[in-house]
């Protein structure tokens, strides 16, 4: 943000970065080799809905688009739409665990529809779920505004497995742009699809 924008108090909503999301499939392979975590096939997009009919129309449009894909042979389950306690909307897409590329395409469809309609700044994060053989839960969270990923490993209650998260950060290495500022690794408790 420019000096003048600050001085005049006209911060603009930040446009999302979408491209880095496509690094996920190759990172999933790395992750599996290094840590044993495999994708569960479910992923979600989280965004802040805007009041009014225009936005809810677009939201329905995205849902229908994804459901149309799901109904095709070999498609996944229908999309699930949930609203969390903070008023954010989650679109959850469930695929088979070896279909992470399709999953990323699904997620990108949501992103591009919102961006094309001028609602790009409302995108918060995307979440792709992983499990290992000990059934430990892990999510890679993509921050749209920064174009970076961070690991989120919830334990029971509102606790997170920081050791595992840091281990994942090391394992991912250069495969993904990992968020270096640890204060930005905010928790997403009870995220759908995780």
């Amino acid at each position: 943000m420019g000096f003048l924008d600050t001085l005049l108090g006209r911060t603009k909503p930040v446009q999302p970065k979408l491209d880095d999301l496509f690094g996920l499939p190759s990172a999933a392979i790395t992750l599996q080799a290094a840590t044993g975590f495999t994708p569960t096939g479910s992923g979600s997009v989280c965004f802040r809905s805007v009041e009014g009919k225009t936005f809810s129309d677009i939201q329905n449009e995205v849902r229908d688009l994804l459901n149309m894909e799901a109904e095709k042979p070999g498609g996944g389950l229908p999309v699930e739409v949930t609203r969390d306690n903070y008023g954010f909307t989650w679109l959850v897409s469930s695929r088979m665990s070896d279909e992470i590329e399709t999953l990323v395409t699904d997620l990108h469809a949501v992103n591009s529809t919102l961006v094309d309609n001028g609602f790009g700044p409302q995108l918060l994060c995307t979440l792709v779920a992983f499990r290992d053989e000990r059934e430990r839960r892990l999510a890679l969270v993509y921050l749209y505004k920064r174009g970076t990923f961070y690991p989120f490993a919830p334990l029971s209650g509102e606790n997170r497995d920081n050791a595992l998260e840091l281990h994942i950060k090391g394992a991912l290495g250069d495969d993904l742009k990992v968020e270096q500022d640890l204060t930005r690794w905010f928790p997403v408790w009870g995220a759908p699809g995780l």
């Binding site: 006209r10 603009k12 805007v50 903070y86 930005r184 408790w189």
Partner: protein, 331 residues
């Protein structure tokens, strides 16, 4: 290039620029007048002006540097961890991720008056404080409304309002100090300088000029403060995408404010400029049948509720339009 629904408000930008320009102009005129008076009489009182400038600047820098600590201490607020206030932190986390900004520290003030403020010298050292009255449920604020209020405060941080207002008030501080210095030197130094014929009128002139400058800059600062509140409302509403939630929060908070015991109001006065809604209200005129802006509105740090709601309504229409505007580069 993505299309945008978030066109800046040109009118507000122009008005704010004009206010800052006039504030700068008054500052330059003030310094020029002082130098003019000094050189005209070859007086030795130049030192006093320099002292006032240095002293005023020092005070401004110190208050900017310690603004977070001063404000927290004045409000009796305590920093809270995510474990203590998970909801509050959750909302702030999400808003900061949406806006791509550093997360400020979060504090709670044990006041029953519903309000919130944000302060700090930069984004790394800022703190966001809400009062107990805002979150303990007396107002029945929904999560969306609370989010709107927090988004408004985060916009103050993003707009660096504490820095801007500190620089803006530098002029008023210096002028105010000069009035006092001149007054005291009249009082105590008058006798010793009886052989210097110029000394008395020079100090009187400096005092008169300072009073005028103080009055003008005071009004301009208040005007600037009102514009920055509008700008924060605007950015906050655009960030959450829920202008109506912010509007209803504004209404609830200003209603709740009127039910507060007077003692709270008096102790809250020094923090007024940082608050979400003004805690200290002068007798409200404005729309009392006479029409036109009243004196109370002219002196107020916050725009009237009507003005703020009107702007939010405009943003609601802007966000709801069927096709977004073309991006700036195509216009």
């Amino acid at each position: 290039m993505a299309r945008t629904r978030y066109a800046p408000d040109r009118g507000l930008t122009v008005r704010m620029t004009a206010t800052m320009f006039f504030l700068g102009l008054v500052f330059v005129a003030f310094i020029a007048a002082l130098i003019g008076i000094m050189t005209a009489v070859n007086a030795s009182s130049g030192a006093i002006v320099l002292v006032a400038l240095v002293f005023g600047g020092g005070m401004a820098i110190a208050s900017l540097f310690y603004s977070d600590k001063i404000a927290l201490a004045a409000a009796g607020a305590r920093e809270v961890s995510p474990k203590e206030a998970p909801e509050l932190h959750g909302i702030v986390d999400r808003l900061c991720a949406l806006a791509d900004m550093d997360k400020p520290r979060v504090a709670i003030a044990p006041t029953s008056m519903p309000n919130a403020f944000a302060t700090g010298r930069n984004s790394k050292n800022s703190v966001l404080c809400v009062t107990q009255g805002l979150i303990d449920g007396h107002l029945n604020l929904t999560n969306e409304e609370l989010e709107g209020i927090l988004a408004h405060e985060l916009s103050h941080v993003a707009h660096k309002d504490v820095q801007v207002m500190t620089v803006a008030s530098l002029l008023a501080i210096t002028a105010g100090l000069l009035v006092r210095f001149a007054f005291y030197s009249e009082l105590f130094g008058g006798g010793r300088r009886s052989n210097d014929n110029n000394a008395v009128p020079v100090m009187l002139i400096i005092m008169a000029v300072s009073i005028v400058v103080y009055a003008i800059s005071f009004l301009l600062i208040r005007l600037l403060s009102r514009y920055r509140e509008l700008a924060a409302d605007r950015s906050g509403a655009l960030l959450t995408g829920q202008p109506s939630a912010l509007a209803s929060a504004l209404q609830k908070v200003s209603l709740g404010m009127n039910r507060i015991p007077t003692q709270d109001l008096r102790s809250a006065e020094p923090l007024n400029a940082f608050y979400f809604a003004p805690a200290m209200k002068l007798a409200r005129g404005g729309r009392d049948g006479k029409g036109g802006p009243s004196l109370a509105n002219l002196f107020s740090t916050h725009p009237s509720l009507e003005k703020r709601l009107e702007q939010l309504e405009k943003i609601q229409r802007q966000l709801g339009q069927a096709t977004p505007d073309a991006p700036d580069s195509l216009r």
